[in-house]
Symmetry: C2
Subunit: 444 residues, 2 copies
């Protein structure tokens, strides 16, 4: 009998590894256990399912269990791993459908248990109309709940990407939506001056945005805050996620400051023959060199691929994250990469920043929309540290050029000199990112 | 009396330098001479003026002579410099409006005389209905000519960016349009396999595209080719441009293999106190290290800025070009940067390439359009050499991430690992550029 690879978790980080391993090691036995009902899906598509832009939950599934079985990967849904014995190379598995538990041995183990929504420690946080949304199963429950009652008033607690995307989705569905954020500005992944532009877009869409307001309790009809009660027949948690790393830590694997599983460049955990990837892991930030926790599908896919190559005898490394993220909320595009001004200062950089307003295309073209770009750089060296973008159609993906520049260790002067594409429908002759880079030069 | 800077040419390369010099050297006298009627305009916008997407020629003007005069830059239009004496520091100037000639002394000289459309050496090439389009004055003549006659049949000779953009503009105006290209495929700045996708888009729009066909003569009613006559009451030259460098070469300045003025990293010509920038210069290609001729507004602006900083006591360098270019023709977006597969081989690289089909956004989103990406890399080292993109909305500007990666000397493996922005409206979880990079890895 050949070796067996056990994969825990059937979404991106698990199945990208399984697929790589399958391709490279044809005789390897691969078993993938997923506690939910779906494999390889786009959790990022859930808000579009909620808004109706995407019609069927199946549209979000990239590969079904059947697809994987056709690749000779033994995928079992509704199978939850409840314990790991790394010495004995054995997992304790609970078959949820048949409510029975069994043991499964493995030679190699890949942990891709993902993340779970952060739940506030509040009275009422576990009421059935309070939804954290991370998996397709979560989204089924949310949409079933919203569908069976005519939801009229939705409150989103927190203002992360998914929370704001769902806030908009429920506006599209005809609900009255409130967003409450404990910090002074929405979207804490941006500097407050850029977050303010997002708040304005939300308010223009009719969303009641309350910043500096903390939820104190949730009842069946309200969210209670120091600034008064907010009527809510549906509550969405938009507080971000935390690593679902308990299985690994209980088995003795090391975790980092963010409670994510510690992995090296090859996605190897602290135990021999055990890999991990995706939302259950911590990562290293390319710019700061610090460990960070970034739970995003792109990272999960890349880490899964790297783990799969390494566990099947190849060699690949994951270079770290830049915290690149893009989204669109209320017709406003948002992008960020690298360090914000606040993050740069906390990481020990003497940072300078510029913020400029420009247009996404030549001003005389119908494709032209407003765009605001903030560039952060290290003083004296001119090293590029990060960028944030808020603007109209054509704005967000411009952070990619900064992401590439960060990975190439370019300076802002280099960014000014970059030979970027220009044509009237796509850009002014100086790309807005370069206009922002130029504006930071005098401060160096 | 203080020093005088004479700028020859009132478009991007000239006026970007003048504006920088003005800001940094307040007491410098700056005289800028422009033989045409316009300053600082977007020549790239001309096709949109022709199609009617842009309504007024003035919309394409970024800064008027009056704007510059308000900055204390003495701009004179209809003033053509007809001779230069670099020893005597004196220019011979022809005032076209009053038909008189005078001499003007200078301490520093900046040559930004631009480019002129390549004209084929054919019988009839100088007939009045044969238009090369490079300046706003050219476009006035073209539109006046097209307006006073009801142009029904347009033939474009050559298939460069501007030629194809104008071909589409005349389709929009209701004309029957033919494009003839002597090479085996349209758009020679792409590899033929990518150019074929552009040809398909043109044909789908009803443009009669004939490749491998050379114009032999132009008459008042036809373009004559070996493959038969093509009726044409308007002929557009889409053969690209050549440097308008005669003034500099007659004054003894050195030129390179592309007949562009030779400049160093600071945009200094071979003569002391004489700078040059923009379409009249040659550049250095960042990837190949070879001298190249690239006539584009972005390059002109960047080189003008660098020249202006240096001539006013600062220090800046132009890092070279990647040949990045983007356009949109017949709803199809086109982008390229770095070396094509053909160029890489000619430059002495052992090059490998991949070409993949993907979508611009998550496949389940309404924003999703087809996109084809070709990535070129150096064998063994995996060094990224270039990329080409043809696809629907959201395709072209993706070359920018490759442009940044090229300037950062990244490998295709680095490109695969880049932390690029992902959200369903903007990208699949693996950006198409990364899918193409992954596809090239096995060939290294």
């Amino acid at each position: 009998m050949g070796e067996r690879l056990l994969v825990i978790g059937g979404d991106a980080a698990g199945m990208a590894a399984a697929a790589q391993a399958r391709r490279r090691a044809p005789t390897l036995e691969i078993v993938a256990l997923e506690k939910g009902n779906w494999t390889s899906y786009s959790a990022c598509g859930i808000p579009y399912l909620a808004s109706g832009a995407v019609h069927e939950i199946e549209d979000l599934v990239v590969r079904t269990p059947e697809d994987f079985r056709a690749m000779h990967i033994d995928v079992r849904t509704q199978h939850e791993v409840v314990g790991l014995d790394l010495e004995a190379r054995r997992a304790e598995v609970h078959n949820l459908a048949h409510d029975r538990t069994f043991h499964l041995g493995f030679d190699m183990l890949h942990i891709a248990t993902g993340a779970r929504p952060r739940r506030p420690d509040l009275p009422g946080a576990d009421l059935p109309h309070v939804h954290g949304v991370q998996t397709l199963d979560d989204s089924s429950r949310l949409l079933a709940d919203a569908g069976k009652r005519r939801v009229k008033r939705v409150t989103v607690i927190g203002s992360g990407y998914v929370g704001l995307e769902l806030a908009e989705a429920f506006v599209v569905r005809g609900a009255t939506v409130t967003v409450i954020e404990a910090r002074p500005e929405v979207m804490g992944s941006l500097d407050p001056d850029m977050g303010a532009l997002v708040a304005r877009a939300l308010r223009n869409r009719g969303i009641d945005v309350r910043v500096g307001v903390r939820a104190e309790a949730i009842t069946e009809t309200h969210v209670r805050t120091a600034a008064g009660d907010i009527a809510a027949d549906l509550v969405i948690l938009g507080l971000g996620v935390e690593p679902n790393s308990g299985l690994g830590t209980e088995a003795g694997l090391q975790t980092g400051v963010h409670e994510g599983l510690e992995v090296d460049r090859q996605q190897r955990t602290s135990a021999d023959g055990v890999w991990a990837a995706g939302d259950c892991c911590q990562s290293v930030h390319v710019v700061s060199g610090h460990p960070v926790y970034v739970a995003l599908g792109t990272v999960a896919n890349k880490q899964g691929r790297v783990a799969g190559i390494n566990m099947s005898g190849g060699y690949a490394t994951f270079p770290g994250v830049l915290g690149t993220a893009v989204t669109r909320v209320c017709q406003t595009e948002i992008g960020r990469t690298g360090l914000t001004e606040d993050e740069a200062k906390r990481a020990g950089f003497s940072a300078v920043a510029s913020r400029i307003d420009a247009t996404t295309a030549a001003g005389y073209m119908p494709e032209s929309h407003p765009i605001t770009v903030k560039v952060v750089a290290e003083r004296r060296s001119g090293r590029l540290l990060g960028a944030q973008i808020v603007g109209g159609h054509g704005s967000a993906k411009r952070v990619d050029v900064v992401a590439a520049a960060l990975s190439g260790h370019l300076t802002v002067e280099d960014l000014v000199g970059l030979d970027l594409g220009y044509a009237p429908p796509f850009s002014p002759v100086w790309d807005p990112v370069q206009v922002a880079a130029r504006a930071v030069l005098p401060q160096l």
